[in-house]
């Protein structure tokens, strides 16, 4: 040891101002986009309508994406079959709603909410159980091998989608929302569909709840720590595999929930809807930063808002607006907006 030692004084490595702005930048993107929308749309009422539907869409995509990003972060497992849970959730949930027509057809808020709740619970139970089976049968044999994971989970997606056709028939199913969720409220001259408003509130509540679980509970700590350094979590005495299975099941159930919500939003469900949503989900997960729940949330809102604004401003470009968004964000941050800091 040759060099002279500096005094040992605790020193907090303070982040520089640009660093802090850089960290907060993704959070600013959503309001920036909303302002951009306001300026380019011009009409306040159209802007308000579009913003609410953009947020609603974003919330639903986030619900579908959250499980996928955590599953990847925890065990480096990429599940291309995640979309199957969206479809299955939608079919189970909507079937339940159709069966409960006596509850949904009457203008009673209580009965309507009870029906939706029953549908959601049924969908989440089925997709959660399906996720558990999927993890055991499809995913477990191919840990650590991305190539095989992609191939096998794509295979799983096809099989589940085809089974939907077998069980529910080949045609899409149309539905109507429960009575009290139909129609729109008028606010500042803008007609806002009740259901979209509800989806925004519900999605926000779910995000807050998820954050609370991740920040305040021990299991949440384990998940967050596991995303960064799974080996160390095990060395502290936690069975990461069990945690992972739990997250996989929860993520599948959330995808199912997202499926029901999306079905109610579109008022039609198809077996291929999960596969279609997966495109958006992947974009959201990539631009958010693989493994990051906050990143996925922001990414989902950006995708939802942008898609709605562009569809209004320049309908032909709406389809590629997401690709353009992804390109722009990856040019700015090649790992996504909020990449998880992996130890090592």
């Amino acid at each position: 040891m040759t060099s002279a030692a500096p005094d040992h004084a605790p020193k907090y490595a303070q982040l520089s101002l640009p660093d802090r702005i850089g960290k907060a930048m993704p959070l600013l993107l959503v309001p920036l986009l909303v302002v951009f929308g306001f300026l380019s749309i011009g009409s306040t009422s159209s802007w308000l309508t579009l913003t609410v539907s953009g947020l609603a869409m974003g919330m639903m995509i986030f619900i579908m994406a959250s499980g996928l990003t955590l599953v990847f972060g925890l065990m480096d497992v990429i599940n291309f079959g995640h979309g199957a849970f969206i479809s299955v959730g939608a079919y189970v949930g909507i079937s339940a709603l159709l069966a409960l027509e006596s509850w949904t057809g009457v203008p009673s808020l209580l009965l309507n909410v009870a029906a939706v709740l029953a549908a959601v619970i049924a969908a989440m139970c089925v997709t959660g159980a399906l996720g558990w089976g999927f993890e055991r049968v499809i995913v477990r044999p191919v840990y650590g091998a991305h190539l095989k994971q992609i191939l096998v989970t794509v295979g799983g997606l096809i099989v589940i989608e085809q089974m939907i056709h077998v069980l529910w028939g080949p045609d899409e199913i149309y539905l109507t929302r429960p009575e009290t969720l139909k129609g729109a409220v008028t606010f500042a001259g803008a007609a806002i569909e009740k259901y979209r408003l509800l989806a925004v509130v519900f999605g926000l509540a779910l995000f807050v709840a998820m954050r609370l679980v991740l920040k305040r509970t021990k299991i949440g700590l384990i998940v967050r720590a596991g995303v960064q350094n799974g080996e160390m979590v095990e060395a502290l005495g936690y069975h990461l595999r069990l945690v992972f299975i739990g997250v996989f099941i929860a993520g599948s159930a959330l995808a199912g929930l997202g499926g029901v919500m999306w079905g109610l939003y579109q008022e039609v469900i198809t077996a291929g809807m999960g596969e279609e949503m997966m495109i958006l989900v992947f974009i959201v997960v990539i631009i958010g930063g693989l493994g990051s729940v906050e990143g996925a949330f922001i990414g989902a809102l950006l995708v939802g808002l942008l898609q709605n604004y562009i569809a209004f401003l320049e309908p032909k470009l709406a389809l590629i607006s997401n690709i353009a968004l992804m390109t722009a964000i990856l040019m700015w941050r090649p790992q996504g907006m909020m990449p998880v800091v992996k130890a090592k």
Binding site: H146, L147, L151, G155, I158, V166, F282, I283, L319, N322
Partner: protein, 350 residues
């Protein structure tokens, strides 16, 4: 001479050699061995899919990269020929311009996607190609003014390549433009296949395999992993586009379902896995078996479905429209239990 032609990449199995020679023989003489419109369609399809699948294997098997955009490149090539033929009128110049521009556009697009996604991590590539390919597919069906939308495009190709052109008959088979067209497809496919065989057996191909085995190590030895992977992506895209062009010349029609659909992407994946990843001969075996099965097995399913009518669930499971269900199951099982495919299995038995 012969070993030079196949770049000294021997099949290394007696049965495999026999199968390959058999397939080559049947395809080379298909118009005479199996006269009839349907069998010629099947043979041409096999030729084109061998090239398409082989070019995909350059990515999946040799480079260890999963792409979901291969049909997009295939479609670009097909639409290149179609658009050129529509706008420039019937003629060989249109075919050439269409083919070349399709291939160049595909290579450029592949370069762009590769630069964005392969730089960070290979797994991004799978997701990003999926997103881009689906956006392009939707775009093609929306821009109906240019692409004909869901209906696709019909166009004329030089008369010498159509059934209307008659030359006489040979061994009782009438020689028409369609037959010439078939041989155009056959020889072009053969040339492309031999080219791919050359590529994977070149030093470049060996570097790709080294990267697939261990990219950290390859990087440490000094290979620019991103460069090699991106180049492989571009090559593979260009060859897929040319296969698409051949398909367009053969069919005289392009549409989203025949060239761009996700279902074709799944077919390609399945052919690669069944035939055997990481060997060009796998593409030959996989494509041949798959196209034959697709053409003839679905009928069988229809029969079985009809026969089991009255039983619960079974007829729905055996419905010919549920063909993909069984493909999916087969696919999963082959990845688990049969990862080296038919070629790998044959080689290990010898």
């Amino acid at each position: 001479m012969l070993t030079n032609l196949i770049s000294d990449d021997r099949p290394r199995s007696l049965i495999l050699t026999g199968l390959l020679l058999g397939i080559l023989f049947c395809l080379a003489l298909a118009p005479f061995l199996f006269p009839g419109v349907r069998s010629l369609e099947t043979a041409a399809r096999i030729c084109i899919f061998i090239v398409l699948v082989a070019s995909y294997d350059l990515l999946l098997g040799y480079s260890g990269i999963v792409s979901f955009a291969h049909t997009m490149f295939f479609g670009l090539g097909a639409y290149g020929v179609a658009l050129a033929s529509v706008h420039m009128g019937r003629g060989y110049d249109a075919l050439i311009v269409g083919t070349v521009s399709g291939a160049v556009a595909s290579a450029l697009l592949a370069l762009l996607i590769g630069l964005f996604s392969l730089r960070v991590r290979a797994i991004f590539f799978a997701m990003i190609t999926l997103a881009v390919a689906s956006a392009v597919a939707v775009l093609v069906s929306q821009l109906s003014g240019l692409t004909g939308g869901e209906d696709g495009l019909n166009y004329s190709i030089p008369r010498e390549l159509t059934p209307a052109f008659k030359l006489g008959s040979l061994f009782g088979v009438s020689i028409t433009g369609k037959l010439l067209n078939y041989y155009l497809v056959f020889f072009a496919s053969l040339a492309l296949f031999l080219l791919l065989l050359r590529i994977v057996n070149s030093p470049f191909g060996r570097v790709l395999q080294a990267i697939r085995e261990n990219d950290f190590r390859a990087e440490a030895i000094g290979y620019r992993v991103v460069f090699y992977r991106t180049l492989a992506t571009c090559l593979s895209a260009a060859v897929a586009a040319i296969a698409g062009s051949l398909f367009a010349i053969w069919l005289r029609y392009v549409g989203p379902d025949t060239t761009l659909s996700f279902e074709i992407m799944l077919d390609i994946l399945l052919m690669v896995v069944i035939g055997g990843m990481g060997t060009m001969y796998g593409a030959v075996i996989g494509a041949t078996i798959f196209v034959l099965a697709q053409n003839y097995l679905q009928n069988l399913m229809g029969v079985a479905s009809g026969a089991t009518e009255g039983l619960p669930l079974i007829p729905q499971l055996l419905d010919p429209d549920r063909w993909l269900l069984w493909l999916g199951v087969l696919f999963i099982l082959s990845v688990y239990f049969f990862p080296t495919g038919i070629v790998g299995r044959l080689r290990s038995e010898d």
